[in-house]
Symmetry: none
Amino acid sequence: MTVQSIERAFSILRALAIGPMGVTDLAERVDLPKSTVARLLASLDSQGVVTQDHSGGEYRLGEGLLEIAGAAQPGRNLVATARPHLIDLMEATGETAGISVVDNGSMYYLEHVEAESDIQVRNWTGDSAPLHSVPSGLVVLAHWPVTRLDSFLSHPLESSTRHTITDSDTIRASLSEIRELGYVWGYEEFAEGINSVAAPVISSSGGVEAAIHVHGPAYRFPQPDRTHDIGLQVSEAAKALSENLPP
Amino acid sequence: MTVQSIERAFSILRALAIGPMGVTDLAERVDLPKSTVARLLASLDSQGVVTQDHSGGEYRLGEGLLEIAGAAQPGRNLVATARPHLIDLMEATGETAGISVVDNGSMYYLEHVEAESDIQVRNWTGDSAPLHSVPSGLVVLAHWPVTRLDSFLSHPLESSTRHTITDSDTIRASLSEIRELGYVWGYEEFAEGINSVAAPVISSSGGVEAAIHVHGPAYRFPQPDRTHDIGLQVSEAAKALSENLPP
DNA sequence: AGGTACTGTTCCACGATGCGGAACAGGGGT
DNA sequence: ACCCCTGTTCCGCATCGTGGAACAGTACCT
């Protein structure tokens, strides 16, 4: 069913992820005979995923691992796990649902599930938006440690539309509300004619790496009496996703 | 000399680095029987380094790979980046300073900087301690999302010494205080005769992955009038480290 | 120097373990 | 209904990995 050597190889890699170690320590840690660990390490070494400092020294994780992992674009299967939730949201609201991640100081749109409607927001996948100008960015900011938030807000904030909020104090004030509520609405702050709600996806380490959201044309979305209702749905979906995240 | 299955497993991973593929394509690419590839994939899947979209679908590289690879660089120089701060702390307090990370539900002691004193706590490097029994674990718990905290506290907590706090409500109550204060003292809770302070190292995503701490013999550490003073120093050091962490 | 206590590495007979051809099961497309 | 493709399971065979023990270095005390 499952291949023993692979299982063992990866427990070795995981052990090495903690820090460089020698064969003996490693063997004890993963509870395997030293000779076995040595052989597995030799194989992993020949694959370039581990290296030893000087011949006969400690082992550490190698470049080869980064080479492979580099291709695993951040959030590749975040998308896969998120999809079902996005589809639910889309069906519940009738509007486009999506997920985005923090990338290089902006929100990067990873995936979209389109509404079944003739008029809908365009596919934003692959684009980025400034954190302060989109709800998804705001929910991320709301969960950042203060020091990081301070340094972000200390740079001047640009406007995307005439509705964009660029005053750092106003933003700061809204963040605590966002933390309480669990979601936030944005009204044409990034693009004219588009409103959206977002909620944070929280990883098991407690950090916020992503947000999911629903976008719709401002003239019909949201129905004024459903803002809280829809906000809760997004928040629920985000919470559900947070819980069955891979790590 | 070299383990066949590992060699094969990594050629599969390398092939998947090109892009998501099905078993058949993959088998042809790496020139192996389909059944063999399927079995290897199943193993890799159980390790979380590959995932398939929907049961019976294509395979792609998984999050687990990033988890390991992420530690390839930053993990190794976490210690390097931390060292100067630990040395500062050690010199300021005259006691041993260290850094530990969460590993497999425990705090794992990564590195120690020894006090320049004849009597000092032993080198804890490489050992692990239950999260609830050490200050470093408590500061980590204090920054976990509630759902994860709940599941941790739902398991029975073991005592290490007669001072270990095992009541989940008592712990829960102390966590909010820890969040406010930024540090926490532990008095002989994990080992008799040892007191320690810890503060959380917060990554750029907002998650807590490590803690730094100062340990000393209970008879001289801390001087009762300096608990807050020393706590602040540890907290400052942790904050400083958090800020020049590699992303 | 001479020990001692480590380290990582190699050897090799044994048999558990992974191998792979072939048969199976489940979807989509036509 | 078919066909063709997918990923998955089965199972006997022997290859391949296993792990104890012996080896070979190296750093550290006496």
